[in-house]
Symmetry: C2
Subunit: 403 residues, 2 copies
């Protein structure tokens, strides 16, 4: 018997009608005589409502109790899904993480699954049952409830697929897969049928909000193939897999762009060893995420300009920190809030020379000025004016034959 893990996210179970649809999706697998393990999130909105309550009670609400509170969300959804499946005549039941148990380690609110006890679920499935397991949570060695942090139900799904060694893992969400670029920004965006973990990681962290990067990382580490599908429409999704081969002649798999980036330049900073560390350490300590960095060549050997990008919401905090920084001296600070990062991603670029050139050439042909460049093995990112994002995505989409 083929087995599959089915994961349903918050919007997929966001209403009574959605839960009915989810029960139909589950039953379609069962009708194909597959062994099904379901893992569900809380109904969308529930978790945020609960978090709001904790903030009203304490600005430093206890992390362990926070997890106890949030864990109710998935418990409720699992009971509702199981109840609906029983209503339809299936053998189903909800399973709380403590009933298996699912063991986690690490701090409250950001634990990681270390072990899943399979015995009870396997015998329930053997008798034809469909287990509906609470995502996002587990218990620690003190027998207390823990949660896995943002996107935790994805992590639960990947770990269930690993421990039960299932044949497939289908992540049902509100998008129907991963696209070559954001379909809302470019009409020629196409669904990617197959993508590697590394590409997916670059896509995820660059703004394709299909799945949390940590869960993709979990899948990569454990070599779990999984699919992303829509619970709203019956469509083929995207398979995320570990194969290292280029899937086709396409060198570039996808193109992403960011919003709300800002470029900061520290003009005339004293050029001496350790100046970059002196600038970035206090930013890091204040949870400000510095993305692209470029340091100009020092013209006179004494002064240089340091440019970097941050999220726009961090600009004021950054300004304050830099001005208070006694370890550096500089002439002035400049900002540009009208910038955006456009990236091309593809495992194919490792073995194909000339990609950088083709990217710059294509952008230049549309008079798009590049401010900062950063590269990794499978990604090239450039910072451009955010007025030119659409044009940049379109020309790159065409250049790399994604249209």
């Amino acid at each position: 018997m083929k087995t599959v893990v089915l994961k349903f996210g918050g919007t997929s179970v966001g209403s009574i009608d959605r839960i009915k649809s989810v029960a139909k999706i589950i039953s379609s697998y069962k009708k194909k005589k597959m062994g099904v393990i379901v893992v569900s999130s809380a109904m969308s909105g529930t978790t945020n409502e609960l978090i709001k309550k904790t903030k009203e009670l304490s600005n430093t609400f206890d992390a362990a109790e926070y997890d106890v509170l949030l864990a109710t969300g998935e418990q409720a959804t699992c009971a509702l899904i199981a109840g609906r499946l029983k209503h339809l005549g299936f053998k189903a039941r909800s399973w709380m993480s403590w009933q298996l148990p699912i063991i986690t380690e690490g701090p409250y609110s950001s634990s990681r699954i270390s072990k899943i006890n399979k015995g009870k679920i396997l015998s329930f499935m053997k008798s034809g049952g469909i287990p509906i397991i609470t995502g996002f949570q587990g218990i620690n060695l003190e027998n207390r409830l823990t949660t896995l942090g943002r996107g935790g139900t994805d992590a639960s799904a990947i770990m269930l697929a690993k421990f039960f060694n299932t044949d497939a893992c289908d992540i049902y969400t509100d998008v129907d897969g991963v696209y070559t670029t954001d379909p809302r920004n470019h009409s020629k965006a196409k669904k990617i049928h197959k993508i590697s973990y590394d590409e997916m990681l670059e896509m995820a962290s660059l703004g394709a909000k299909v799945m949390q990067p940590t869960s993709v990382q979990d899948a990569k580490l454990n070599n779990i193939n999984f699919s992303v599908k829509s619970s709203f429409q019956k469509k083929k999704g995207t398979l995320i897999t570990g194969t290292k081969k280029t899937f086709s002649n396409q060198i570039i798999t996808g193109i992403t762009s960011t919003k709300n980036d800002s470029k900061v330049t520290i003009v005339g900073v004293k050029d001496r060893p350790g100046v970059a560390a002196a600038v970035f350490k206090p930013l890091s300590l204040n949870q400000i995420n510095v993305d692209m960095v470029v340091q100009n060549i020092s013209l006179n050997g004494k002064e240089t300009d340091l440019t970097f990008t941050i999220k726009s919401e961090d600009v004021k905090k950054t300004e304050k920190i830099i001005k208070q920084n006694k370890r550096i001296s500089f002439r002035k600070l400049t900002y540009d809030n009208n910038v955006s990062k456009v990236s091309i991603i593809g495992v194919g670029m490792i073995t194909t020379p000339g990609i950088t050139y083709r990217m710059f050439q294509a952008l230049a042909s549309k008079k798009i000025n590049i401010m900062v460049i950063s590269t990794s093995e499978i990604k090239i990112s450039v910072l451009i004016s955010n007025k030119q994002i659409k044009k940049a995505v379109a020309v790159l989409h065409k250049e790399f034959k994604l249209d």
Copy 2:
């Protein structure tokens, strides 16, 4: 160290502000150096919202999953209370029923607590901790969540007081105690400071909705003294206790009245053995609760009239069942929806003769006509016109020196 169980009902924890108040009440016991065990209900409204969801998914929603769903309500409140207490600097934590565990037996949705494992709670309390335990629920021997039915958190409180053998058990609710009669209907109603289980049982089942009768029964069976108090106002409550002595010279402890009763008379029913059973059996099978019953003396030896009271909402169903009943014949059916049952309750009447006479005399003095009478050892109930309820309660309240 003196120990106490504190129970908080749904309205007592119905909002964030209420939860803050509850934390204050708990801390006041802790400041008196008492050992405190807290048990809480779900926030008021939560349980009904969850039940609504089950009805939208199935008209026969699985009872086991129903319990899993409803159990989330208390889990959430306990986490919020514990989080608030920690915020105030106390050592506190939530305890789910499965973490002790609290073992139940019987069917889902109406289980009863059979055992409470004390070890973990005792050692937590020994270290100064305040355990906040989920009311209304437990786990059965299959390690699945169960709930105790309506008013189940009262039952949890009584059983915690029993198993932990605490010195006291304070039931915090939205009323500040048990009154001689409903204060909303009679301005001279007074709070009762001490009442016996049996009287409380009669009060509870007759409409003083302070506590579910089954929990009072549990307390009586286990000889647990408990108090009913308001979580909204700092006031002395009512102590419910097992002592058999009359607490004072008062013979009557309280007076209750019902709403929404109807009187049904089957006129000219054939008078033969078994006719009452033939009438009432199908009503009982259809969950229609028959309260007072009176059968007239057969005048001609052939026909009689059978009168009984039911809840007004059951009138139509009752009419249909009686008309379809082939085992009886009668001349006609009559109804009176404008009736009410007024009862006097008191353990004192067992040892005091003439109470019935005094009751009837008092009612007659106000020209109140009695339609049906029923009596128990500690209660006399009469059916009267519902236009005369206020007058009847007032004259009886005065007659039995409750003013």
